[in-house]
């Protein structure tokens, strides 16, 4: 009997391995198909934009442009996987940006110490806002749509008040590297490449770290479990309130980092740079294939969602398409992306 059981076990493990292999194959097959389609589209775009699309400088620019949205969308992914939503992140970019600019101007020191101190101040503001978003959701079971909508209004109003309605210029030059600097410039310039923007590196590190947190840690598993079946998660002894609070805090923290990068880029903290950003971040998450119903999603997919939207904007700019038309196209692309995703899932299920 015992021998029988261990035989079954070995077979099961082999079968699980098979399943993994099959999954991997399916993934590569899909990725391969997508890649082929991408190559065709890219070549066509490059032709119509007279060769200005497929240049290292342009592609580097796209990566830098999506940095802020991608970072916001990381936090948004965590929130949406728990079947929540965070509408406050756009305003929090502004509030943290204004507070950080004010702080940087008020303290007497500069250099890397100032950057670290400013980041910590921004994180404190962003995470506190996330905490305030979460508490009514966790304690009173209020819908996050409402609490984060309220925070969106309050944070924007506060940012305007603190900044007296105008951008606060940053006096220190400590943030120049972060805003406009490149890494490996000496190495890559001779090859005709512009180097890697510092902000892009920030994004890459955050995507990698939070992808690991979501897929490999206990916390990440709990985020999925709560999104999939909150009551089952609670009865399994999971501290649902704490996990949910944490996802809103992470989202607020991501907004603070995006706020810092934006402030460094424009040498100022401005109270109106984040308008619409919350919807852009939700779009990136959804285009990345994460379900608004919760329980499913991935940080890496979200990054590709943000990249797709960024590329689309860039291409339309290069082709000289006017901005109103751009909005129409972008909206249509989001709709098509979610429809295709849903059809694909149905196909896989049947």
């Amino acid at each position: 009997m015992a021998g029988d059981a261990s035989g079954v076990k070995a077979a099961l493990e082999a079968s699980a391995g098979d399943a993994h292999a099959k999954q991997n194959r399916a993934l590569w097959l899909r990725a391969g198909g997508a890649l082929a389609a991408l190559v065709v589209v890219v070549v066509a775009i490059n032709y119509f934009s007279h060769g200005s699309f497929l240049t290292a400088v342009n592609l580097t620019n796209v990566l830098r442009q999506i940095t802020y949205n991608a970072i916001l969308a990381i936090g948004q992914t965590f929130v949406i996987v728990t079947a929540g939503i965070d509408l406050s992140v756009g305003s929090l970019i502004e509030l943290t940006g204004v507070v950080m600019a004010g702080f940087a101007n008020a303290v007497p020191f500069g250099g890397p110490g100032l950057v670290v101190a400013t980041l910590l101040v921004g994180l404190a503001v962003g995470c506190t806002a996330g905490l305030i978003n979460a508490l009514p959701v966790v304690k009173l079971n209020l819908p996050p749509f409402i609490t984060t909508l309220a925070m969106m209004l309050m944070a924007r109003g506060l940012a305007f008040k603190l900044a007296h309605g105008r951008p606060i210029a940053v006096n220190s030059n400590a943030f120049d590297g972060m805003g406009t600097g490149f890494l490996f410039e000496g190495l890559l310039r001779p090859l005709g490449l512009p180097g890697i923007p510092v902000a892009v590196l920030w994004m890459a590190v955050l995507v990698a770290v939070f992808a690991i947190v979501l897929t490999r840690t206990r916390f990440g598993r709990y985020v999925f479990a709560i999104g999939g079946n909150e009551e089952a998660a609670r009865l399994a002894g999971i501290n649902v309130g704490l996990v949910k609070t944490m996802v809103y805090v992470i989202s607020g923290g991501c907004a603070a980092v995006a706020g810092l990068l934006l402030m460094a880029r424009f040498q100022s903290g401005s109270p109106n740079t984040g308008i619409g950003s919350e919807l852009q971040s939700i779009a990136a998450v959804v285009v990345g294939g994460t379900s608004l119903m919760g329980g499913r999603g991935s940080v890496v997919s979200t990054f590709f969602g943000a990249l797709l939207i960024g590329l689309l904007n860039n291409v339309m700019n290069l082709l000289g398409i006017e901005s109103y038309t751009q909005d129409i196209v972008l909206g249509a692309v989001i709709l098509i992306a979610v429809i295709v995703d849903e059809l694909r899932k149905r196909y896989l299920r049947a």
Partner: protein, 493 residues
């Protein structure tokens, strides 16, 4: 239905099922979990499309390609989990999609008359103006039947209709079915309660592994033979011998003066469970049995009273405290409370004890897969592997995943709430065997069950609950059905 075939990725759920139903007949469909009953029903309802085979009504082949088509063909489905809109009034639920109108506006008066007419025809009384959420389970079922009749259903398919009903409610249901039969309505009746089939069904079709095994007139098919056909091998349908509790066995669970405000208020409950002992909680539906075990497990937080596990006081402020103290609650509602359906078998198995498989917060997938494979083998969970999404498993196998989740934690006290509801005889025997194996580990078990034979057959002691309190305690030898029912119904002590 003729030669129906339906396959899912990795599973051939239906492999040529054929059966027929005559007007005015109750045709029972029996089979183990995973035999294909639910899938067959969904094909008939138009929720799934069959890969091969045909459905004929009155000798004409028909295509059932959705719920609307099923309705037009006169097929009414009554699922185990009802499909009522909880906030709508009963009358609105009955007439949902068939509201009488005057011009562009709803005609409320005509609606009430129409619904009342259907109820009168059925000879039942329902609070038409009350929201559906206030109905008892039996009343919800009656509402579903009324709904089917409004749609002029000539064939009504019922899945486990008696699973949540009391004896008296079952009598009422059977009377209603008999009445409709006389009017020519045909029934497909799916049930695990084999003992009720002689009372209600005319013919029985046995399904096993997605195939039709046999169709017999009910009176020509004795129960033992039916079970043999279902499992493909003879099974002892009776309860296993319970090992005696050692006289010096320590008390593993002591509950004193427990109070909690759940669905039914727990009103000062005290009892003890010793190592190697099964204590059964008997009582009518709504007596508060589930609320007692939920309070012990922290699912509802107790407002007063003491809980000791193995001699240590436990402050239960939530499920986490109870789990840490060694209390495991296997809930009755596996889809709503037991499982994350979108997650894999592996992820569900380790969910309640993830700290053991995630040293320093990072999940050790190898260890996870290892324990999952062990549990799949030990519990004989029918799944291709641990990566299968739980949603794709049959009910009995889902229940086994819930068990696996709590077995890996080595709890001291297991609280089973309706452990065998809606699962077949073969799986029942396996779960009883599992409970005995747990007793050997020295755990204590509390079992809530609405099936009286199960409580009496699988408990060392029986506590009878009524209105949130323990009203009587019987040793196994003294616990006779009439005594227990008398207390449960409030006729005796």
């Amino acid at each position: 239905m003729n030669g129906i075939v339906k396959t899912f990725p990795g599973v051939r759920a239906l492999d040529g099922v054929s059966f027929d139903v005559r007007a005015g007949e109750v045709h029972a469909l029996v089979g183990e979990n995973g035999a294909g009953k639910s899938t067959l029903m969904k094909v008939l309802a138009g929720a799934y499309r069959a890969d091969a085979g045909s459905v004929e009504i009155d000798g004409t082949a028909v295509v059932v390609d959705g719920p609307r088509a099923a309705e037009a063909l006169g097929i009414g489905m009554i699922y185990q989990e009802f499909n009522l809109v909880p906030d709508l009034r009963v009358v609105d639920n009955i007439l949902l999609g068939h509201e009488p109108v005057r011009g562009a506006f709803l005609d409320g008066k005509a609606a009430l008359e129409r619904a009342a007419g259907v109820l009168a025809e059925l000879g039942i009384i329902l609070p038409l103006a009350a929201p559906a959420r206030r109905l008892t389970v039996a009343q919800q079922q009656m509402t579903e039947i009324a709904k089917a009749l409004v749609r002029k259903a000539r064939l009504i398919v019922m899945d486990e209709p008696t699973a949540a009903l009391t004896e008296r409610e079952i009598d009422a249901l059977f009377a209603l079915i008999t009445k409709l039969k006389a009017q020519g309505v045909a029934f497909v009746y799916i049930s695990h309660r084999l003992e009720e089939l002689p009372r209600i069904s005319d013919r029985i079709t046995v399904i096993r592994d997605g195939k039709t095994i046999a169709t017999h007139a009910t009176r020509e098919l004795p129960q033992e033979e039916m079970i043999r056909l279902m499992v493909g091998r003879p099974v002892d349908a009776h309860f296993p011998e319970l090992p005696p509790v050692a006289p010096d066995a320590p008390v593993v669970l002591r509950v004193n003066g427990l109070r909690a405000a759940g669905g039914v208020a727990v009103d000062g409950v005290s009892f003890e469970v010793r190592a190697g002992e099964i204590v059964g909680l008997a009582g009518l539906v709504g007596a508060g049995r589930t609320d007692i075990v939920r309070a012990i497990a922290g699912a509802d937080v107790p407002t007063a009273g003491e809980i000791d596990v193995a001699g240590r006081r436990v402050a239960v402020r939530g499920p986490h405290d109870a789990i840490a103290a060694g209390i495991a609650l296997i809930t009755e509602d596996r889809k709503g409370q037991g499982l994350v359906l979108g997650m894999s078998v592996r992820e569900n198995t380790t969910l309640a004890h993830l700290e053991d498989y995630a040293p320093r917060g990072f999940i050790d997938r190898k260890a996870e897969s290892g324990i999952t494979s062990e549990e799949i083998a030990e519990l004989r969970i029918r799944t291709p592997n641990g990566e299968q999404t739980v949603r794709n498993l049959s009910g009995g196998n889902q229940q086994k995943v819930v068990l696996a989740k709590w077995l890996i934690g080595d709890a001291k006290v297991y609280l089973f709430d309706e452990p065998t509801r809606g699962i077949d005889v073969g799986a029942k025997a396996e779960i009883y065997g599992l409970m005995l194996a747990l007793l050997e580990r020295g755990v204590g078990i509390v079992m809530v069950s609405s099936e009286l034979p199960e409580v009496l057959g699988m408990s060392h002691r029986v506590l009878v609950v009524r209105e949130g309190r323990v009203r009587a305690e019987f040793a196994r030898a003294d616990a006779t059905p009439d005594r227990v029912i008398a207390v449960a119904a409030g006729v005796a002590a």
